[in-house]
Amino acid sequence: MKNNQGFLYELKKHRALYILMFPGLLLMFINNYIPMLGTVIAFKRITYGKNFFETYIKSPFVGLKNFEFFLKTNYALIITRNTVLFNLAFIVIGLILAVTAAICLNEVLSKKLFKFYQSSMILPNMLSWVIISLIVYSFIADKGFINSLLTSFGGKESIQFYNETKYWPFIIIAVQAWYFLGTSAVIYLSTITGINPELYESAVMDGANKWQQVWAITIPMLRSTMIFMVMVSLGNLFVGNFGLFYNVPRESGLLFDVTNVIDTYVYRSLIQTGDIEMAAAASFYQSVVGFVIVLVSNSIIRLVSKEDAVF
């Protein structure tokens, strides 16, 4: 009772603050919290009602049936494998490229060239995945740039990129790396420029060459940023970049084996094939495993070095 009074008193005292927060709290409730509760649909056989509540009430509980069906399709394995392996590749390759690019960019002496390189590298990040898909298409289409080059150098037949799975792991990884390299490099670069120059000066006094400076000073100073960036990506280990995986392979069914990820599978099941139960099961599985991964990776970081934990 006393608690309740305390709450009412608080509400009255800060009425204006609550009114300010209200639209945001409400929108987040609708956009994030109701869907969180709504994940229970994964345990139901979905029967559409006239409205949201009716749909939820009318749909009978079927326990783990949806998951059984989902796991029986060979999609479950394929989309999990693709999502996780691609993301791991993105994390490792992205980290190496971005740190290398940031260290090298920091060595560029001309201020004008530095700005030019930085702007060019960021540019892909400004483009939508629909545009990126067209760009990739103009390179690897039947009449695309690469095939034009090959034929002009005496190649006999053009390569049908959109029909052959063997090229796609490389294409996907290259496109993703190209898209994000600039922005990640900028983040690492900001840490590098924050390093106290005296550290380098005393290293030079001790006779350290550039390579030794990078290994002994720059990389250790980048550690926190690297852990932070890897943590954020690890938290998304089960999230496939929908824009990338849906647009860039241009929905070529022949490529699904290597390009279908959880997110594209959920979308296709929900909208295109109407397997809403499959979609719900896959999306619930993704949410829960993703959440567990966030918690686990953070507690590992906490064990290793406490100050780098995100929460």
């Binding site: 608080e10 603050l17 927060m21 945001g24 929108l27 956009n31 109701i34 869907p35 969180m36 509760l37 709504g38 994940t39 649909i41 009602g49 949201f52 090298c104 920091n106 060595e107 002496l109 001309s110 060239l113 030019f116 390189y117 702007s119 060019s120 540019l123 892909p124 400004m126 939508s128 629909v130 545009i131 067209l134 760009i135 103009s138 390179f139 289409a141 009449k143 740039f145 034009s148 190209w178 600039g182 900028v186 983040i187 900001s190 420029t193 924050g194 120059p197 000066e201 290293a203 932070f228 997110d263 929900l270 979609a279 719900a280 999306s283 619930f284 949410s287 993703g290 959440f291 929460f311």
Partner: protein
């Protein structure tokens, strides 16, 4: 940025400078080149593209593809309208609502502030997924196939809200707020006339990221407004890449394009029309964009 020119770097050997500059020049070409390839195709004759493939420099320069798109321009102009409107409305509303949500959490005299921060934070950790979200926006708040479908679902971000909260907590001096309160200013007045103007950097940062996301969004359109009536630029471009007929509904046009009805080239031209506003604004926004990236990476 001054530290980049610290003493130790002046000893860089010439060969080293040449090597890294060469590497970055090549990589810059890899970043800019593809867009130039798209531009080159969009200015080519359709028949040239079909016979000799995509080229950086058109064999025969023509603006056919653009004339074709503008000749069938109604959908294009509508798409511009949908994109511009949803970008401006969604960004403006989103930034104000997020700031209003974040401000109380930054006030030290507001006791439950941590509870509300957690409410926002949890949205970043756990995501209900596509299916419940779809049910919410088709059944609970039936905005399917309305312009709200392009605006509402991605208006707020938990991360941006917390970014604002941290900015307010660090940059709005408590003493200023207190003395304004003593002078009789209401909380609303303080928020709108003091907090918001003092927080321009973070509002610009969040607004910019939000605007880019709106401009580039095709997914909400595809998921929640796919009856073909509401098409923003990205979704129209997506539909054209799947099926050029989306825009070519007028049989008379064929006669006016002796080089073949633009098809491949029209897609490329459409891409250029979608990118132009971003390309024009890029020099202006990139400074803020870089600042925002850095601010976002410094954990709050």
């Amino acid at each position: 940025m001054k530290t980049r020119f610290a003493a130790y770097r002046r000893r860089s050997p010439g060969v080293f400078q040449i090597t890294i500059n060469a590497a970055f020049l090549i990589y810059s070409a890899i970043c800019l080149g593809p867009l130039l390839l798209v531009l080159g195709c969009s200015l080519s004759r359709e028949s040239d593209v079909l016979s000799s493939g995509y080229r950086l420099i058109p064999l025969n320069f023509t603006t056919d593809a653009y004339r074709f798109l503008l000749g069938n321009g109604r959908e294009l102009f509508q798409a511009y309208f949908y994109t511009v409107f949803s970008t401006i409305a969604g960004t403006a509303l989103g930034v104000i609502i997020m700031a209003a949500l974040a401000y109380p959490m930054s006030r030290k005299d507001f006791r439950p502030r941590n509870k509300f921060s957690f409410y926002v934070y949890l949205t970043m950790l756990f995501n209900g997924g596509m299916v419940p979200l779809y049910l919410v926006y088709t059944q609970l708040i039936p905005i399917k196939n309305s312009i709200l479908a392009l605006i509402l679902p991605n208006m707020l971000g938990g991360f941006y809200t917390l970014l604002m909260k941290n900015f307010f907590a660090q940059n709005i001096p408590e003493s200023v707020v207190e003395s304004a309160e003593i002078d009789g200013a209401t909380t609303y007045r303080i928020f709108f006339t003091m907090v918001l103007p003092l927080s321009k950097p973070v509002l610009v940062t969040v607004g910019l990221f939000s605007a880019i996301a709106y401009w580039n969004d095709f997914f909400r359109n595809m998921l929640l407004a796919n009856n073909g009536i509401i098409n923003n630029l990205q979704y129209l471009l997506y539909r054209i890449t799947v099926q050029i007929q989306v825009i070519n509904q007028n049989p008379d046009v064929a006669a006016s394009f002796p080089g073949g009805i633009p098809n491949e080239t029209a897609r490329m031209a459409m891409a250029i029309l979608v990118v132009i506003p971003i390309a024009v604004l890029f020099p202006l926004i990139q400074k803020h964009f870089v600042r925002g990236l850095v601010a976002g990476a410094v954990k709050g």
